[in-house]
């Protein structure tokens, strides 16, 4: 039986197991929306901007590992997705974005709402497609999902001209695809795995460097086993938070620019750095020539191009972290060593750093300190493992530092691109995927103003996301740099002219209230957590609080400004 392209698209998505789609309609994708209206298996969540749709698709993907999907129209809608797509690219998040396009015979004519979106997104997608014939549509969808979700995951865009949506073709969904230029490696080289196992077993002061790749590959259990078995301390990147329980005695927390003293000192002194699913980002390494000066480096990563990109790696293994570790772990049984005893001196050094320069802040008993809010929030929610979604700025770093994460996919943060406005829509997407979980967006007054139009989405789609605005009346992270490095010239960072967030949320019919004193924080958070629907809490925090420790950009990571 012949189906039109719009229907073929939806049928294909169902075969891929898609349940939810985020987006906004328009003329060039109206036929797809018409088919969407006629069916019940795919649930559509209408966002209020297309960047909200892509961020929501990312929140969906980041919280589950499943591919997030968005539908938008051509031209301005397509260009509105570029930030979300770039964000997914930087953080290796699997999403597929379908954009409407003008009919094939008008492409290239500067038709109304035409944008060369495949051209625009070429550098920020893992791959993209312009479908020119309805006969190619089903196979293209199959390829798009395959590419987005395998290897190093990433965003794929599929551009759908209007005539491809209306033309008809036989629907045959391919069982599998093979793409001759795309063969992701999953299994590491066995000889190299054996060699690396020996190097790890022989190291005196090994250190695990755990990135987001451990979460996307689902290798957190294997990492835990490795660390515990050989008594190896662990630090994570921002993206790796949750891959190793921060409550464990081997956890050093996050390293890097705003990392812990103990993690950065451990990097400085280790003799073997074992990086798994991380990419030696400058926010972690600081000045490269001073990074891990005494260490040999092992790097396990699915992306060969990540290896030796920034730092020369001594022992590379290309492969999926989980597969590689599963093959490596049994090899340690050959060593009859008392790891606890061997590790004693190294763990003692670390213990000393742990007790120096702990993450700290100063309370005055009255003004609300953001760090206090996050510590309280952790105490109140630690048994329910909520999904905490950060936005971008100081509050993002405070979340990473002061909330304690113990499970993967419970900390969603835009690490690579850092687009303000990510948090709230991403939290909505995470809530769609996890209807029974508590989802909390920690945002800033600046970031929230970049996505607060999505309050309507929360109401309409009944998404009980909790929003905590850590409101300092500043674009705080930039203000902090101005204070420390630009003689306190607060150029363009004072945002004390702002809406009354409580009344704003109220106008959508959303529960909202304000907290202004430390003594009210605990009760306020409880009230928020008890809310059955969405809730917005405007927390007035001390305005000029800074994120410490801080390593100035370009300095060695041991040059830390401390509280």
């Amino acid at each position: 039986m012949k189906l039109n392209g719009a229907k073929i698209l939806l049928e294909s998505l169902k075969r891929e197991g898609v349940k939810h789609i985020f987006g906004i309609p328009g003329g060039a994708i109206i036929n797809v929306f018409d088919e969407l209206y006629k069916q019940k298996d795919l649930k559509f969540i209408l966002t209020r901007r297309e960047d909200g749709a892509t961020f929501a698709a990312e929140g969906y993907a980041r919280s589950t590992g499943k591919v997030g999907v968005a539908f938008v129209t051509s031209g301005p809608a397509a260009t509105n997705t570029v930030t979300g797509i770039t964000n997914a690219y930087m953080d290796s998040v699997p999403i597929v974005v379908f954009t409407g396009q003008v009919p094939t015979n008008l492409i290239g004519n500067d038709a109304f709402q035409e944008a060369d979106i495949t051209g625009i997104t070429r550098p920020c997608t893992k791959h993209n497609f312009l479908v020119k014939r309805v006969e190619d549509l089903a196979e293209t969808v199959k390829k798009a999902f395959y590419i987005a979700s395998t290897g190093r995951p990433g965003p794929v865009l599929v551009d759908l001209p209007k005539d491809v949506q209306t033309d008809e073709a036989e629907f045959n969904y391919p069982e599998s695809v093979s793409i001759r230029g795309y063969n992701p490696t999953f299994h590491g080289n066995p000889r190299q795995i054996r060699k690396v196992a020996r190097i790890i077993a022989e190291a005196k002061k090994p250190l695990l460097y755990v990135g987001g790749g451990v979460i996307s590959s689902g290798a957190h259990k294997e990492v835990y086993t490795l660390a515990k078995k050989l008594c190896i301390p662990v630090f994570t990147t921002l993206m790796g938070i949750g891959a190793f329980p921060e409550t464990d005695e081997l956890s050093l927390g996050m390293a890097g620019m705003h990392g812990t003293y103990r993690a950065n000192m451990a990097i400085q002194h280790c003799d073997l750095l074992i990086s798994i699913g991380a990419r030696f980002d400058d926010r972690v390494t600081g000045k490269l020539s001073d990074f891990a000066p005494h260490a040999s480096i092992v790097h396990i990563d699915i992306d060969p191009a990540s290896i030796s990109k920034n730092v020369k790696v001594d022992y590379p293994i290309v492969g999926d972290a989980k597969c590689v570790l599963q093959e490596m772990l049994p090899l340690f049984d050959e060593y009859e060593k008392d790891w606890k005893e061997i590790r004693k001196p190294w763990l003692e050094m670390i213990e000393n750093w742990k007790n120096e320069h702990k993450l700290a802040y100063v309370r005055d008993g009255k003004t609300i300190k953001p760090q206090y809010v996050l510590e309280k929030l952790y105490q109140l929610t630690k048994d329910i493992y909520p999904i905490i979604v950060s936005d971008v700025g100081q509050h993002q770093m405070w979340v990473a530092q002061f909330y304690t994460f113990t499970r993967p996919r419970t900390h969603l943060s835009a690490g690579g691109l850092g687009p303000m406005g990510f948090g709230f829509p991403a939290a909505l997407g995470a809530q769609v995927a996890n209807p029974d979980r508590m989802v909390i967006n920690i945002t800033g007054d600046g970031s929230f103003q970049m996505s607060m139009q999505e309050l309507a989405t929360a109401v309409e789609s009944r998404l009980p996301v909790k929003v905590v605005i850590l409101n300092n009346g500043f674009l705080g992270m930039v203000r902090q740099w101005q204070q420390l490095f630009f003689g306190r010239r607060y150029s363009g960072t004072d945002i004390s002219v702002q809406p009354d967030f409580v009344r704003l949320a109220g106008s959508y019919g959303i529960d909202a209230f304000r907290l202004e004193e430390e003594k009210d924080v605990e009760e306020g958070l409880r009230k928020m957590l008890d809310c059955s629907g969405p809730c917005v809490v405007d927390v007035r925090i001390s305005r000029e609080e800074n994120v410490y420790p801080m390593v100035p950009a370009g300095a060695p990571i041991t040059h830390m400004l401390l509280v």
Binding site: T118, R122, H127, G181, Y182, D303, A305, K312
Partner: protein
């Protein structure tokens, strides 16, 4: 360091753009570029001449391999290979220079492929050293136009 890399790529729209994007986005320079279909019409061979230190070259290689439309990356470093380039050179000629131009053409085993009243078009094939050498000699005699194909390369033996 000069570096020649040859790619087998899908022969379809936008592929050249992806590769050019990769070079410009990551700050690498393309010094020469040559593209044409292979015996299998669904594939093109692309030969790119670029430069950089060891680390940059390794990255270029890996990043190219990551592109879905790149089916194979062949690099020639450390392997015996032949490279050739062709140039078409339009020479301004008159009675005083014609003989000298023809002598040079002869020495380099080049060909005159078009003759007009006041110009020749010369075709020369060889490695870059040879092309540069003939250009050096012809230049004082009046080169009007130059078109070079960029290098193509192939490994020697099986």
């Amino acid at each position: 360091m000069e570096y020649i890399v040859s790619l087998l790529v899908e022969n379809k729209a936008g592929v050249l753009c992806r590769i050019a994007n990769l070079f410009s986005g990551r700050g690498y320079n393309i010094e020469m570029l040559n593209v044409a279909p292979t015996m299998d019409p669904s594939l093109s061979r692309m030969t790119i001449v670029t430069s950089g230190d060891e680390r940059v070259l390794e990255q270029i290689n890996k990043q190219l391999n990551k592109l879905i439309d790149v089916v194979k990356v062949v690099e020639y470093r450390g392997r015996p290979y032949v490279e050739r380039e062709m140039a078409l050179i339009k020479m301004h000629t008159d009675a005083s220079t014609r003989a000298e131009v023809l002598r040079i053409v002869d020495i380099f085993r080049a060909n005159v492929v078009s003759v007009a009243r006041d110009s020749y078009v010369i075709e020369v094939t060889g490695d870059s050293g040879k092309i540069n050498a003939i250009l050096n000699l012809l230049e004082p005699l009046g080169i009007k136009e130059l078109a070079r194909t960029g290098k193509v390369a192939m490994t020697r033996g099986g």
